[in-house]
Amino acid sequence: MKSRSFWLKILSATVLFGAWQVAGMIPVSYAFPTFFESMAALVRLAADGTLFQAYVETLRPLVVGVGISAVFGIGLGLWIGLSSRFDWLFSPIFIVMQAAPLAALIPLLVMAYGIGLTSKVFVVCIMAMPVIVLNTAGAVRNTPSSIKEMGRSFLASDTEIILKIIIPAASPVIFSGLRLGISAGFIGAILAELKITPTGVGDIITYSRSIADYPAMYAAIFSIILLAVLFLNLLERLEVYLFEGNVRGYASD
């Protein structure tokens, strides 16, 4: 049945892109190019190298921001999960951050740090950090008590319980928190480029809109969404591969 689902995916894609093509040919709006026009623009952008330059620009704050968020987020999450005192102190901040529309902070960040890389890295961090912290803390807190007791009854020290039991047990959830953080980081990175200063892919989008080169604009948007989705998909596959069986198999099933 593998081929059935493969063909259905192709069919599904054909239907969607076909609809896009037809809608562009009618056209539903002067600003709605057809699928093939957009793809041609994508090939053009890729061929003359603009696209790759843009991605270098766009991915820099993303990589830096996600890196910072991962290191501090996982560290803080472990700490919160292990100590009820830090849980009390820090959890509320991240719970509020998780629910709040942090994007509203952007104008302030721009005032404080200017329109350079720092602001953009900050935007990525505030988007990505809460989900990483909360997932890590939750995973640590939810380590099944029976395997911790097992460790204690076989004379594990506190450090050994953390390193050999709690962290491995929590790692699938930490990893998926990281994946969600990266997903939020993409939103932040693009938001920063559209809102703060047009650079990278944001620049292609903004510029081609201003000169009404709509195919190029659609192509840029298409490419960044495609890139994000492919990368996150890859991470999800990696997750399944790395932690196969880790999620299941605690008790009888």
């Binding site: 689902s5 009390w88 102190l89 529309p101 809102k195 969404i225 989705v229």
Partner: protein
Amino acid sequence: MTIYGYRLPAMSSLILWGLLWEIVGRMGLTFFVPPLSEVFVTLFSVVGTAPFLKALSETAYAFSAGVMFAIVIGIPLGIMMGKNRLVDELFLPWVNMFLSAPLTALVPVLMVLFGFGMKSIIITTTLFAIWIIILNTRAGVLQINRSLVEMARCYGANPLQAFYKIYFWAALPEILGGVRIGVIRAVKGVIIGQLLISIVGFGALFELYANNFLMSHFWAVLLVLFALAFSVSEILAYLERRVSYYAAKR
């Protein structure tokens, strides 16, 4: 955390952080952080003003319209995907894709297609909220216990009865969970939409305050917004617990 055997309420540490904020503000370390007390004073003076009320009502309108579309389209589509394999296979890749896609990139398209106004913001809100609602509804329908389905058939329920007496309730906890996450995403979506389209609602207000360096105004509006967003998510979580008390025991 407990102190002297007394259990401190969960969010009570926010008071401590508020104090810290006040101290940092008083010390005048940075222009960007005015004392919390000053922010609160500003807050009460701002809340009643016409621009604030206008921004709030515009945001509330865009938000509720966006969420409504997300629910009205999302839940039936999710149920269809859960019930019909072909529909599921056709839609699932896209739903999964948009769930994690950076939707901010789509806002410029919406702007050129639907103009720099309310319509674009509503669609942005819907786009942020809908995918998780679809996916959770689908998961809720798929996890319905087979023996419940068989029970319905054994005791002679007709398809309609089976649907609204059993399937709906069996899937309800997941659906509500999806709506809750969807609404939290919608709050972010409506703000991101307003920031990028920045001539309506809070987006315009933020722009105004930031450009005139009205820091305590800025923070006051931000606090109101955070408090509203947090309350919405807590109220929904509470409702979810009330309605789906049986979720863990199905």
